[in-house]
């Protein structure tokens, strides 16, 4: 029994901004879906099923909004699935959709993820009022900053590494017309002088709060053969989860992330990710997560990830570009952020990334994580189909 190869033949996203007051939630998702279909040169009738994902329903104040979005996404009369795996959801949603093709249940699937964060306040939405728990956390930064400090202590990384990541990602975003933040006057000094929010994370080292949607059209070999533009082929994909809190949990480099990457590399025949993978689009909502995930994903030895950042390896013209799109640091509609990572990986291997296209993008990793560094989803896409 072999799986059907899965190809990405259409990618679409909205221009991500702080508040899309000009469109409804339905209007927002339809814009991204329409662009993905246009990219694939397909119509609504060509779609067999719709798989949609987003983070908590409280962000928009709509319970299970896929019910109301069925019409806007052309899903009436079709199967529609709604995935929610916290911050990793954009990636997980794409993988659930890919499974429908791989299992030969459907030929062509539209997958989409979104968040319209201007409908509420995401930071306080993420500050969970759990009974009997001390209300010490203000937003995700309050949760993750201690783990960044643990990484700095363990690795001995210089304090400046975080600002280098932010400076790079915000400059990459200037080449991406869909990115939320376009800081034309950014300098390293400005990043380093920005206010401290959650020590050691400064204002310019955190993600924005965005409205946005991202969509992809996934299809089988037959669909790929008809594709209007070069497809991206899925070479491996996996999800892994571990509990939020337990004695012995390594928040700096969670086992679930290592296991997830190992599964993807096994499927794709990757022996040495640093050598075999050309670029990485990873979910780094705070600057320091770039070096931390580089280690977790096997691109650097433990404690060495920051050296790749510091030496410029992860720059757009470096040997291992990271977050070519500008990353989560420049665009963060939470529910969509994972799918934007997956979609950027696909755009790169298709040669469709525009101004932020890198040379020689044959295999690119898309990465997402969520919850308390506990949910991971990843895929590796390539310009050539998997070995038959």
């Amino acid at each position: 029994m072999s799986k059907e190869p899965v190809a990405v033949v259409g990618v679409g996203q909205t221009k991500h901004v702080a508040a899309r007051r000009d469109v409804s939630i339905a209007g927002l998702v339809r814009e991204a879906a329409r662009r993905a279909l246009d990219d694939a040169e397909l119509g609504w009738a060509d779609v067999d099923a719709v798989v949609i994902g987003k983070a908590p329903d409280f962000f928009e104040g709509v319970m299970m909004p896929e019910l109301y979005l069925a019409d806007a996404l052309g899903a009436v009369g079709k199967p529609m699935l709604r995935v929610h795996t916290a911050g990793s959801v954009g990636g997980s949603t794409a993988l659930v959709a890919a499974n429908l093709v791989a299992a030969r249940v459907h030929g062509t699937v539209l997958t989409l993820a979104f968040e319209k964060q201007s409908e509420s306040n995401a930071m306080w939405g993420l500050s969970l009022p759990i009974p009997f728990q001390q209300p010490l956390l203000a937003g995700a930064g309050g949760f993750f900053a201690p783990h960044v400090r643990a990484y700095m202590r363990r690795s001995g990384a210089p304090d400046t590494v975080g600002s280098l990541v932010a400076y790079k990602d915000r400059r990459n975003a200037l080449k991406n017309p869909y990115a939320h933040l376009h800081e034309h006057d950014i300098t390293l000094e400005k990043v380093q002088a920005s206010p401290m929010l959650w020590d050691p994370i400064r204002y310019s080292e955190t993600c924005p709060s965005s409205d946005g949607a991202c969509a992809m059209v996934l299809t089988d070999r037959v669909g790929a053969a008809r594709a209007a533009r070069p497809p991206a082929w899925m070479l491996g994909g996996a999800m892994r989860s571990e509990p939020t809190l337990f004695a012995g949990k390594d928040f700096v480099s969670p086992q679930a992330g290592k296991d997830c990457a190992a599964d993807v590399y096994r499927q794709a025949g990757i022996a040495d990710p640093r050598r075999d993978i050309d670029a990485v689009e990873m979910y780094a909502p705070f600057s320091w997560y770039e070096p931390m995930w580089l280690e977790n994903l096997g691109f650097a030895a433990e404690g060495e990830g920051w050296k790749l950042t510091e030496s410029g390896v992860t720059e757009l013209d470096g040997d291992l570009p990271v977050n070519m799109s500008g990353g989560v640091l420049s665009t963060n509609p939470i529910g969509a952020s994972g799918m934007i990572r997956f979609a950027e990986a696909a755009l790169q291997v298709r040669g469709q990334a525009g101004e932020h296209q890198i040379d020689r993008a044959r295999k690119v990793l898309g990465h997402a994580y969520g919850g308390g560094s506990q949910f991971f989803s990843m895929w590796l896409v390539g310009s050539e189909p998997p070995d038959a």
Binding site: G61, M63, M64, A70, G77, M239, S241, E242, P243
Partner: protein, 354 residues
């Protein structure tokens, strides 16, 4: 009618559920779920580490907090890390996702669970938050009122009348006497009108509960269960959200899902229908072309216990359990979501010939 059969035989090999109760305020969701997880694992002799894929269904809006499913994951014991996913849907759709995962060959076994605690909030009000947020939700039309619109449309069309609806209610609660998990059992008065033409007896009980199922593929299923309930087909479809553009007396999405699942190829002997309101059983019987010979909701159905987010998965579990016990050879299970049966899933389960 020809239909591509699934490329891999996958079966429900174990099912467990809580006793569904009006309130479980002394239990957290994890505490409510744990015994059910232990039950299905014990039935098969599997441990968490033996499970190839785990998938759950639940709703943050019932829990009243974001990321509520993350706490449930602690109950699963996700260490070492597991391959896991979650849908913000009834557990029946989590089972569907797990079924596709097993079809790919990436896993041979799957644990599926779902849970819902309706007791902490006013459920009728909470469910209004599912509606079009711009044009409908601001009016707060509650779930009983919308079901009453559907019931009145059925009566106006001559498809049913109030005595027939009362008979559905009475049959369901009578059948539930044999179901120790059910919340409403035996003789339950039809009561006053909740929203005309629906009386309180036409409405489901509001309650808390959880359910879990284990799926297994091929020979693994036969090792784990004496008589696996093979999933011969499973499909789900959604309809337009706006009630004004739908014919509420019909359920074309149920019919299409049933057709894709192969339901009409041969008669079923049993049907577990997720019809929270008596009137919805009338709609579903018509869409599924069930004749009087089919045993409908021997468990008592959602009129006897309706833990939101789990009630659909329980229909699949109940249908499978009848096959496990040799009380059915071919059963249909149905799950629904959204106002007035907007989204529907149909699974056809079979036991090996006896």
């Amino acid at each position: 009618m020809t239909r591509d059969l699934p490329v891999r035989d996958i079966a429900v090999v174990a099912f467990a559920q809580t006793d569904h109760r009006r309130t479980s305020e002394e239990l957290s969701e994890v505490e409510m779920l744990m015994p059910v997880l232990h039950d299905v694992l014990a039935q098969t002799g599997l441990k968490t580490a033996d499970i190839g894929f785990t998938c759950s269904g639940s709703s943050d809006y019932l829990a009243g907090r974001a990321f509520s499913f993350t706490l449930a994951l602690d109950g699963v014991g996700a260490w070492p890390p597991i391959s896991e996913s979650h849908v913000e849907m009834d557990g029946a759709w989590a089972l569907y996702e797990a079924w596709t995962k097993l079809l790919t060959g990436d896993a041979d076994t799957a644990l599926v669970y779902s849970y819902g605690k309706s007791s902490p909030g006013p459920l009728r009000d909470v469910l209004t938050r599912q509606l079009d947020p711009y044009c409908v939700a601001p009016l707060w039309p509650d779930s009983v009122a919308l079901a009453a619109l559907q019931a009145q449309a059925l009566i106006d069309a001559g498809d049913t009348d109030e005595p027939a609806l009362a008979a559905v209610a009475a049959r369901s609660r009578a059948d539930a006497t044999a179901n120790s998990h059910a919340q409403l059992r035996g003789s339950v008065p039809q009561g006053e009108y909740a929203v005309r033409p629906l009386r309180t007896g036409d409405c489901p009980p509001i309650g808390d509960g959880a359910a879990a199922v284990i799926l297994a593929a091929g020979e693994r299923a036969r090792e784990l269960c004496d008589r696996p309930a093979w999933i011969r087909g499973i499909d789900h479809r959604i309809e337009a959200h706006g009630l004004g553009v739908r014919d509420l007396t019909d359920s074309p999405s149920t019919r299409l899902a049933a057709e894709k699942a192969g339901s009409f190829e041969r008669p079923v002997d049993t049907a577990e229908l997720h019809a929270p309101f008596t009137s919805q059983e009338v709609v579903l019987r018509k869409a599924l072309k069930l004749d009087a010979g089919v045993r409908v909701n021997p468990s008592g159905g959602a009129l006897a216990a309706n833990p939101v987010m789990a009630a659909g998965l329980i229909r699949i579990g109940e249908a499978a359990a009848r096959i496990h016990r040799g009380e059915s050879d071919r059963a249909l299970a149905h799950a629904t979501s959204g106002p007035c049966l907007q989204q529907n899933l149909v699974a056809v389960l079979e036991g090996d010939p006896r």
